[in-house]
Symmetry: C2
Subunit: 284 residues, 2 copies
């Protein structure tokens, strides 16, 4: 049975496995996209990763990630901006259309949430010229409010879209992640408003209890309580037709062999989105 | 040094300690309000609790809680509505002006978030006549989105205010809890909009890592990253001048003797809101 041509495996799902292994496993399974993490560049240059993927019939759907631009400390802030520019260059070399941008949380001991949010807006203004130069879009990803203090002061899609609004569409978009956004009572409206700003869509699921390390609670599709078909239909109605990244953070899953992980991802996709392969969201 | 006349101890902070002990400890410390939990009625009738409090110079700031009206199962839904009417009666007997209303999460195995939210709106319509009869306000409390699936599909203050809007102000209000709302980018605006709907204000703090039981992560004020002075000033600017409940969920704190817990609550209040006792939110 063919795999949806829209399915992308985000490398976070297979963390701990080398990118060349991942590329081959995806190639064997017929997965056509991989969402690359910058960890891949510890072993290979971005162009080498692009080649490894291409040899297996795979394109990069995005590069994860840069950001963490919320610090009030000028040196840390400057370093984060330099890092983001560097990551934009890497994304361009890789051939990824999007660099996922995670805002960052509060400085240790800080309670200045409004200030941190202002610094995110300022950082985007500083990064946009380089995004335009490289042809890579900054994809602002809201995270679940659970991560507001430690990872992202941007916590709703509406807020991400507001941050993107002042900038050209080809420079700044928004990333829709199921786990991060499913609870939001304004989500349907925010998706409609975001429209052409949507530059990536990531699927996963929310299940309780949370694991001891709260970051690793993003379950495989179907294991939690998110109506992913409804969400996918809303994202589709907003006009997004690109790759859909499966981005699961599950330590137990990661310990399995790569082929087994890819198999479970494909099965999970089918059980949630049906067997129709056209756009991957048929009603089969 | 006098305790702020607005400080209320929510009984959840001292869970496991009997209400008579709590009343005496609060009386000794000069705390003038207690937020009562329905657990208190396992041992005493609501009027007896009212007397116990009054003997110690204490008034009830609220009764926690009823709700959990999201089930699609008609029998469970009817039982929850009966329970809420019963709790309104109890609140009236206790003399509490507010019954805290927690919406409820998803049925086990359900992914119908929109449906659950509709059922909350419907339930309020059914409960309002009894709220008007008893003279007790239903205080709709949004919880942190972390609890969207298991405890409350109402997760923002804006959403709570929207649910309250069709009803008379004296029948349905909203509860502002710091832990539940601090991350919300629309919070300042939602507070302005809510105004006279605000019928309770609860303070606590958000700190990582979360405890193993994710419900019990509400820290003592000052232990986390919430700018509580800013929040309190926004709540005050919206016009709320009533009691402020300290509602901390901390298993380690609860194991201490009641007087020690009350002492830590008072110290924490002072360290965050200053020593000024007028309204408890001075700039001392």
């Amino acid at each position: 049975m063919a795999v949806s041509p829209r399915l992308s495996l985000n490398q976070a799902t297979v963390r701990g496995h080398a990118i060349d292994e991942v590329a081959r496993a995806c190639g064997r399974a017929g997965v056509r996209y991989v969402g690359v993490r910058r960890e891949a560049f510890e072993k290979y240059a971005p162009r080498e990763v692009a080649n490894l993927l291409a040899e297996n019939g795979i394109g990069p759907s995005s590069l994860c990630r840069a950001g963490f631009v919320t610090s009030a400390d000028p040196a840390r802030r400057a370093a984060a901006l330099d890092e983001a520019r560097w990551a934009l260059d890497e994304a361009a070399e890789l051939g990824a259309p999007v660099l996922v941008f995670v805002a960052g949380g509060l400085d240790v001991g800080s309670r200045d949430l409004d200030g941190a949010r202002r610094r995110v807006a300022d950082a985007l203004h500083e990064l946009v010229p380089h995004a335009l130069d490289t042809g890579v879009r900054l994809g602002v990803e809201p995270l679940h409010p659970l991560f507001c203090s430690d990872r992202s002061v941007v916590v709703t899609l509406g807020q991400a879209a507001e941050l993107a609004r002042p900038h050209p569409r080809q420079a700044v978009g928004v990333v829709v992640d199921a786990y991060a956004t499913w609870w939001d009572p304004s989500l349907a409206e925010s998706l409609c408003d975001a429209r052409e700003r949507i530059c990536a869509f990531q699927v996963d699921d929310f299940a309780l209890p949370l694991p001891p390390e709260h970051l690793n609670g993003r379950a495989l599709m179907g294991e939690g309580c998110i109506d992913l078909r409804l969400l996918a239909s809303r994202v589709a109605a907003a006009g997004y037709t690109g790759p859909v990244e499966v981005e699961v953070f599950d330590e137990e899953l990661r310990r399995q062999p790569v082929d087994a992980i890819v198999g479970r991802v494909v099965d999970s996709w089918r059980s949630v989105f049906g067997d129709v392969c056209g756009d991957g969201f048929g009603d089969g």
